[in-house]
């Protein structure tokens, strides 16, 4: 295989990997602050993509310029899902704080189904895949066997930027300090004057906004979305977070990229793309057997 092919796979894998990492960061944040697994995460991602699509359909009628539509879709799509994430946390997750973690897991799983089925039933013709507008520039450079699409590059940079900003937010800001304090020791954080509920809601908003961004990126990249797209992305994002080490942001990034890398490897190896997920999940299972606490988390409970 020549360098062009290799670079092509690398670029495609990076687009995927960043998308997975965005989902995984959400899982890791939620687990960090509340020790919960929120299984509606993938469906929030899907709803983010559909919200953006609905916005586009509206804006298109008003013949809004492309760049403006895109900006509005991104901002409103992520903000709406951030709000949904916070509400979901306030009304479904926080009330169950003292009950077994399994309850939270189940209730969010069910809520995810509610979101998914609602989109299928109430979005016009929602059970069929929907074309997503190609709003990014369609220019591409051909370089031997490498077809470098400008939209891939933009998506990689946007995703990476979102992750870097999230990291800086958590490491450098006052709110980030609160998130880390709550993640490490809830009670002591409260004794320091940190508003626990506000901090947790903020974290859920942040993670859900990132999921929406991931969903919109997926739509822009494949130019198609469907009501069940969140299922696979949710499972992959969760696996990525676990294999990287739940609670660690670096772990989520590593996990996301690793999963995409494994899929790419599987696709090349078996020459049948359908096997790529089988291969990737098999390797993830082996990795988890080898390092049950994840690749980057240390033995003690590492958080955020």
């Amino acid at each position: 295989m020549d360098l062009g092919f290799f670079a092509q796979y690398l670029i495609n894998g990076l687009v995927q990997g960043i998308t997975y990492a965005l989902v995984a960061v959400g899982f890791t944040l939620f687990f960090g602050v509340l020790d919960v697994i929120k299984f509606s995460h993938g469906d929030v991602l899907m709803l983010g993509a559909f919200t953006a699509l609905a916005l586009f359909l509206g804006l298109d009628r008003l013949s809004t310029p492309t760049w403006l539509s895109l900006t509005i879709m991104l901002c409103l799509g992520t903000l709406t899902m951030a709000l949904l994430g916070a509400l979901l946390c306030k009304f479904l997750v926080l009330p169950l704080k003292e009950s077994p973690p399994l309850n939270t897991l189940l209730i969010t799983l069910m809520f995810g189904s509610v979101i998914r089925e609602s989109v299928r039933l109430f979005f016009p013709n929602g059970s069929n895949p929907k074309p997503f507008p190609a709003l990014l520039p369609e220019t591409s450079i051909n370089w031997g066997n490498l077809n470098l699409r400008l939209d891939s590059v933009i998506l990689i940079f946007t995703g990476a930027l979102a992750i870097v900003l999230t990291h800086l937010f958590i490491q450098k800001t006052r709110m980030g300090l609160a998130i880390r304090a709550v993640a490490q020791d809830e009670e002591t954080a409260r004794l320091m004057g940190i508003n626990f509920t506000k901090t947790v809601l903020m974290t859920f908003a942040l993670g859900s906004g990132l999921a929406a961004l991931s969903g919109i990126s997926t739509g822009l990249y494949y130019q198609e979305i469907n009501f069940s797209m969140g299922l696979m992305l949710g499972v992959i994002g969760f696996s990525a977070a676990v294999v990287g080490g739940l609670g660690s942001i670096y772990g989520a990034i590593v996990g996301g990229l690793l999963f995409a890398f494994l899929q790419t490897l599987g696709a090349i190896w078996f020459s049948v793309p359908a096997y790529k997920d089988v291969f990737a999940f098999t390797v993830i299972i082996m990795l988890m057997a080898w390092r049950p606490t994840g690749l980057l988390a240390d033995r003690s409970a590492e958080r955020v």
Binding site: R180, L191, M192
Partner: protein, 237 residues
């Protein structure tokens, strides 16, 4: 003048009352201690004062204002800080970040820097270690950090929850010396302890808690040879 007053407080978990009808006063500028053996209800009482547990009945007032329905972070913003039991530092944060959490409610960074300098003056060791992860420090250093962290909030009342628990004798002594020094600068202190002898050496007033009830109280001179105090610790022999 009374800084903190607890009136007929009853609290517990599930069905059982752990403390019942407890009343105590913490005097402004003094060290008031709360003594009691394991399981006497000291921690439950402190947690209830701080809003970490709900009370069943009774009233907690700070400067005469009822705080019993406030959330923990609101109580903290009223100037109450707690040095928690078991040196609960944020282990994955640096020493400096731990200190910043103490000053979380102060938004003026100049004021925070000023307090940081004061804390560093008080504990030069924390300055040397400012970039070290708190979890990798020794128990004694962590104890210092938790005190420094609480000082960063510029509190008007400091509650120490069993500061000597699990520390080496040398650090226990050092800890009591620090608490005394902080008090001498004007801080009101509520000191919860099992270590009777050293606590009575630095405290002004004391309460003895046994099986969830206050069984003795008074100035430390009175408490020193109080039979109830002995009984609370060694049984009613």
């Amino acid at each position: 003048m009374s800084k903190l007053s607890v009136n007929n407080l009853t609290a517990g978990y599930d069905e059982a009352d752990v403390v019942s009808n407890v009343s105590l006063e913490v005097m402004e500028g003094k060290i008031t201690c709360l003594l009691g053996a394991n399981g006497a209800g000291k921690t439950t009482l402190i947690r209830t004062i701080l809003g970490l547990n709900n009370s069943r009945s009774g009233r907690v007032a700070l400067n005469g204002v009822d705080i019993s329905t406030l959330a923990t972070h609101d109580i903290a913003s009223e100037g109450v800080t707690c040095v928690p039991e078991g040196r609960r530092v944020f282990g994955k944060m640096t020493v400096l970040e731990n200190l910043y959490t103490g000053a979380f409610l102060e938004r003026n960074s100049k004021v925070v820097m000023l307090r940081l300098e004061q804390v560093y003056d008080f504990f030069p060791k924390l300055k040397e270690r400012s970039n070290q992860l708190a979890g990798t420090m020794s128990g004694g250093e962590q104890a210092m950090l938790t005190i420094g962290r609480s000082l960063m909030s510029n509190p008007s009342l400091m509650i120490f929850d069993e500061p000597s628990l699990g520390l080496s004798p040398l650090f226990v002594k050092e800890n009591f010396r620090i608490i005394k020094e902080i008090n001498e600068k004007g801080m009101t202190v509520l000191l919860v302890e099992q270590n009777v002898r050293q606590t009575l050496e630095i405290a002004h007033f004391g309460y003895v808690l046994s099986q969830g009830k206050i069984v003795a109280n008074g100035s430390v001179d009175v408490l020193r040879d109080n039979s109830e105090l002995r009984a609370a610790y060694f049984g009613n022999a």
